[in-house]
C-alpha cells in the first residue's frame, strides 16, 4: 500500500496528483492556485494542496514521480539543435540554459522541496505517463491506447496495448514529425496563441470548408500504414520554439493572420482562414483515424484510450468513435500535459503493488470551496448574501428567470473543462444569452461555441447520441436533434453539433441536482455550461477567486454552496 505523488511541469499546464493505496485522492493543476493560465512552473503549491487535502506529510510519501525523463529530453534537444545548425543559433543559448540550468535537475529539486530521500524520487517516460493516465482510469480491462501530442522525450505519437495494469509500447512516430506541432504551427499561423488557441481553431473549422486539400497534402503526408510525415520545409519547430511555422507555409497558404485582429467571417480573407482551419481539422481527423485503425489492427482490442494534448480535440474524438472500428473510446479529462502527473503516480502505485484504481467516476478532484470564508469576505465587500436550504432549486429558479449564474459547488474540476463545479450556467434556448455572455464575461471570438450539459438519461431527447465514456467529461461532440435546435440555440454550433456533457448524479451531483430541479419544474433539463473564468484567466478555484470574478464580471447571481449573492436587475 503506497502513497505516491505524481508531478508534471516545465512545458505547459503543470499539475500534481496524489494516489494513496491505489485510489486517486486528489489531482490539481497549478494554474488553478497560482492564477497564471497554463502555469508551467513546478507545481509545489498544487502538490502541497493535494497533501493537505489528504492530511498527509510529504515525508510519508513512498514515491514522488516526475512525468518525463530529463536526460532523454536533453539528448533530443541537443541532437535537434546540432542537426539543424546553423538555423538553431538563436534557440541554442535559451534551450541550453533551460535544460542545464533547470530541467535536468528536476528530480533533485523535488527531493529537496518535499524533503524525501532522493531514491524515492523517480521518473517515467512522457508518453508512458500519458498512456497510463488514460488506460488505468478507463473502464476497460483490455484496450489500445493512442498518445498524440507535441513531443515527449523523443516521440510525438505512440501506440500502446494495455491489459489490466500492464502497459506495452507497440510503436511510435518520432519528433520532428508531430500532429500536435502541426496543429500548433497552424494555430500560430491563424493568429492564435499556441497551447491556448487550439480550441479556437477547432471552433473556426465549422465556419469554413476543407477546400485546401492539395496544399495540405504537401504539409502532411498520410501513409497507408497509419503513420504520417510532415513536410518539414513548412515548419520551424525544429529551430524556433516560438513560431512553429516557416516562410514556406505562408508562400503556400498566403500570409499569416495578424494576432488580435477582429474577425469578420463574411470577408473573403477571413473565410480563407476559416477554410485553412476546416482543412486542418479534416486532415487531423484522417490522420488520427489512420492511427486508430492501426492500433486496432495491432491490439485486436475493442476499446481505445486516447491521451496527449491532441486528444482534447472533441470533433476528432467524435469521428474516431464513429469511424475507427472501436466499440468504446475513453479520454481522460486532463488529456494534455497535466494528465502526465496522474499517469506517473498511477504507474508507480501499481509498480509498488497497489491494485489498479477503479474507473474514473468524477473529475471533481480539486479542493472544495470554503463557504464560511466566502460569506465573511463577501460581507466585508458589502455584498448582500443569503443562505438557502436547496441551492440546486435556487439555481434552477434563477436559470428559469433567464439569469446567468456563476455556480461554485463541490471540489473543483481536473482538466480544462468546467463540469458544473466551477461553471457559468445559463438557459440554452436564446442566441441572445450567448451574445450576452460574450459581452459581459468571455469576450470570445464570434465563432466559438458554448457547450450544453444535459441530464444523462434525457440525452437522446435533445441530441442524436447516447451517453458514452467521453460525454461525462465533455471530450466529444454530438449532433443536436433538428427538432430541438430552436430550444438549444445558444449551444448549437454552426455545423449543428455541440460539445455536450451528460450529467449523472454520481459524477457531478451538484449540477445533476440543478438539472433535475429544472426538469421537475417543467423546463428542459439542459443548461449552457461554460467555464467560470474571464478571458485569459484560469478557472476559479477558491472562494476569493469566485468573489474576484463576481466583482469583475456582470453575471446575475453567484451560488457558492448554499450561499447566494444576486445582482439587482
Amino acid at each position: 500500500m503506497a502513497r505516491v505523488l505524481g508531478i508534471s511541469a516545465h512545458y505547459h499546464d503543470a499539475a500534481a496528483a496524489l494516489v494513496i493505496d491505489g485510489q486517486l485522492v486528489a489531482a490539481i493543476q497549478q494554474e488553478r492556485l497560482s492564477r497564471i493560465k497554463n502555469d508551467p512552473s513546478l507545481p509545489f503549491e498544487a502538490a502541497r494542496a493535494c497533501l493537505e487535502f489528504a492530511a498527509i506529510e510529504p515525508g510519508s510519501l513512498d514515491a514522488v514521480v516526475f512525468y518525463e525523463r530529463p536526460f532523454d529530453k536533453l539528448e533530443r534537444v541537443l541532437v535537434n539543435l546540432l542537426r539543424h545548425l546553423p538555423r538553431t543559433w538563436r534557440q541554442f543559448p535559451r534551450a541550453l540554459a533551460s535544460q542545464l540550468g533547470d530541467k535536468l535537475w528536476v528530480l533533485d529539486q523535488l527531493a529537496e522541496e518535499f524533503d524525501v530521500p532522493r531514491d524515492r524520487v523517480i521518473c517515467h517516460a512522457h508518453h508512458r505517463c500519458h498512456a497510463a493516465s488514460a488506460l488505468l482510469l478507463s473502464p476497460y480491462d483490455d484496450a489500445a491506447a493512442l498518445v498524440v501530442d507535441g513531443v515527449g522525450e523523443h516521440c510525438s505519437t505512440s501506440l500502446w496495448h494495455g491489459r489490466g495494469a500492464a502497459l506495452r509500447e507497440l510503436m511510435s512516430v518520432d519528433f520532428p514529425h508531430s500532429l500536435g506541432l502541426l496543429y500548433a504551427g497552424l494555430t500560430a499561423y491563424l493568429g492564435f496563441a499556441v497551447n491556448e488557441g487550439e480550441y479556437k481553431v477547432m471552433g473556426l473549422a465549422a465556419w469554413g470548408a476543407p477546400r485546401l486539400r492539395d496544399e495540405f497534402d504537401r504539409i502532411i503526408r498520410l501513409r497507408a500504414d497509419g503513420s504520417y510525415e510532415l513536410g518539414l520545409e513548412y515548419f520551424a519547430h525544429m529551430s524556433d520554439a516560438q513560431l512553429g511555422f516557416g516562410p514556406a507555409l505562408e508562400r503556400l497558404l498566403g500570409p499569416r493572420r495578424p494576432p488580435g485582429r477582429p474577425w469578420a467571417l463574411d470577408s473573403a480573407e477571413d473565410r480563407r482562414y476559416a477554410d485553412v482551419a476546416a482543412t486542418l481539422q479534416q486532415v487531423l481527423e484522417e490522420a488520427l483515424l489512420g492511427l486508430c485503425r492501426r492500433a486496432r489492427a495491432e491490439t485486436g482490442s475493442d476499446n481505445l484510450c486516447l491521451a496527449g494534448g491532441v486528444a482534447l480535440n472533441a470533433l476528432a474524438n467524435a469521428r474516431i468513435q464513429r469511424e475507427s472500428g472501436f466499440a468504446r473510446v475513453f479520454v481522460q479529462p486532463a488529456a494534455g500535459d497535466a494528465g502526465g502527473a496522474l499517469g506517473a503516480a498511477l504507474l508507480t502505485a501499481c509498480a509498488l503493488g497497489d491494485p489498479r484504481p477503479p474507473p474514473l467516476g468524477s473529475a471533481a478532484l480539486g479542493l472544495p470551496v470554503d463557504v464560511d470564508r466566502c460569506r465573511a469576505v463577501a460581507g466585508e465587500l458589502g455584498l448582500a448574501t443569503r443562505r438557502v436550504d436547496d441551492p440546486a432549486a435556487e439555481a434552477a429558479a434563477l436559470l428559469v428567470a433567464d439569469r446567468v449564474v456563476a455556480h461554485v459547488r463541490g471540489r473543483f474540476e481536473w482538466g480544462p473543462r468546467a463540469l458544473g463545479q466551477r461553471s457559468i450556467l445559463a438557459r440554452p434556448h436564446l442566441q441572445a444569452t450567448r451574445d450576452r455572455l460574450n459581452r459581459v464575461v468571455k469576450r470570445r471570438e464570434p465563432f466559438r461555441p458554448f457547450a450544453p450539459a444535459v441530464l444523462s438519461e434525457r440525452t437522446v431527447e435533445y441530441f442524436n447520441a447516447e451517453p458514452d465514456d467521453m460525454t461525462p467529461f465533455m471530450t466529444t461532440v454530438a449532433r443536436v436533434r433538428d427538432d430541438r435546435r430552436d430550444r438549444l440555440a445558444a449551444v448549437t454550433h454552426e455545423d449543428g453539433t455541440a460539445r455536450l456533457q451528460t450529467v449523472e448524479a454520481s459524477r457531478a451531483p451538484e449540477l445533476h441536482a440543478v438539472l433535475a430541479a429544472l426538469d421537475a419544474g417543467g423546463a428542459d433539463p439542459v443548461v449552457l455550461n461554460t467555464s467560470l473564468n474571464g478571458p485569459g484567466e484560469p478557472i476559479v478555484a477558491s472562494a476569493e477567486d469566485a468573489l474576484a470574478f463576481w466583482l469583475r464580471h456582470g453575471v446575475d447571481a453567484l451560488v457558492v454552496e448554499d450561499l447566494v449573492i444576486e445582482r439587482t436587475p
Binding site: 492564477r35 542537426r83 491489459r163 509500447e169 509498480a351 469576505v377 466585508e380 465587500l381 468573489l547
Partner: protein
C-alpha cells in the same frame, strides 16, 4: 529613490512618449505591471487571515485588472499607429508571490511604496500630456491616478493597523526599500550574466559545428513508425512493463 521618481518622470517624458511605438511599449509594460500586481493581490486575499483585508485586496486587485485592460487597450492602439508597430504580447504577467516571501506586513509596505511611486510618476505624465495636448493619454492616466491615490492611502492605513506603532511602519518601509534595491541589483546582475552566457554559448555553438555533420549522419531524422513490436508477442509481466517505464 522615491523622491527622484517624479522629477525623473518629468525629465524623461518627452523621450518616453514622443514616438507611438515607444509609447505603446511603455504602456504595455504598465499593463504587465498592473496584471502582475493583480495576481499578487488575489493571492494575498486568499492567504490573509483577515476577511476585511481580503476584501480590501480583492477590491484593489479588481482595480489593477481594470488598469491592465486600459493600458493594454491604449498600447495596442498606439502600436497600430506606429510606423514600425512593436510586437506586443498578451497582457500576462507572472506573480512574484510577494505575500509568501515578505509576510503580510512587509507585503503591505511593498505595495504602499509601489503605489506611491506610481502616483508620483503618473502625476508627472498627466502634467506632460496636458501640456502637450494629448487628451486621451491625459484622461487615461488621470483616471488611474485617482485609484493610485486611494491605494496609497488604504495600504498606509492597513500597514499602520498591522504594525501597531509608527516606528515599526517606518522600519517596514525601510526594509522593503532595501529589499527592492537588492532585487534590482540582482536583476541587473542577471541581465549582465545572461549576455555573457549568450556569448559563451554561441562560442560553444560555433565550436560544436563539426558535430552537426556527425549528428546528421549518425542520427538522421526518422520517418514513419519506429519500434514495431512483433505481432503475437505476449504482454510482458506487469513488473517488467513498469520497469521499462520507471527509472
Amino acid at each position: 529613490m522615491s523622491r527622484l521618481t517624479g522629477p525623473l518622470a518629468r525629465l524623461l517624458s518627452p523621450a518616453v512618449w514622443r514616438w507611438p511605438g515607444h509609447a505603446a511599449r511603455k504602456l504595455h509594460a504598465f499593463a504587465l505591471a498592473e496584471h502582475g500586481s493583480m495576481l499578487d493581490l488575489r493571492l494575498a486575499a486568499r492567504m490573509t487571515s483577515s476577511p476585511a483585508r481580503a476584501a480590501a485586496y480583492l477590491r484593489h486587485a479588481d482595480d489593477e485588472a481594470r488598469h491592465a485592460q486600459m493600458f493594454g487597450k491604449r498600447a495596442r492602439k498606439l502600436a497600430g499607429e506606429a510606423r514600425r508597430p512593436p510586437a506586443l504580447g498578451p497582457v500576462r504577467a507572472d506573480s512574484e508571490r510577494l505575500f509568501e516571501r515578505l509576510g503580510e506586513r512587509d507585503f503591505l509596505a511593498f505595495v504602499h511604496v509601489g503605489e506611491e511611486r506610481a502616483r508620483q510618476q503618473f502625476e508627472a505624465y498627466v502634467d506632460y500630456f496636458r501640456a502637450s495636448g494629448r487628451e486621451r493619454e491625459e484622461a487615461l492616466f488621470s483616471a488611474i491616478l485617482v485609484d493610485e491615490r486611494r491605494h496609497g492611502a488604504y495600504t498606509r492605513a492597513l500597514l499602520e493597523e498591522l504594525a501597531g506603532d509608527p516606528a515599526e511602519v517606518r522600519r517596514a518601509l525601510r526594509r522593503v526599500t532595501r529589499w527592492e534595491l537588492g532585487r534590482r541589483w540582482l536583476r541587473a546582475g542577471r541581465a549582465l550574466a545572461e549576455r555573457v552566457y549568450v556569448l559563451a554559448t554561441l562560442t560553444v555553438y560555433v565550436l560544436a559545428a563539426p558535430l552537426a555533420l556527425l549528428v546528421r549522419v549518425a542520427r538522421p531524422i526518422s520517418r514513419g513508425w519506429r519500434g514495431v513490436a512483433l505481432p503475437g508477442a505476449g504482454a510482458p509481466s506487469r513488473t517488467a512493463a513498469l520497469e521499462r517505464g520507471g527509472e
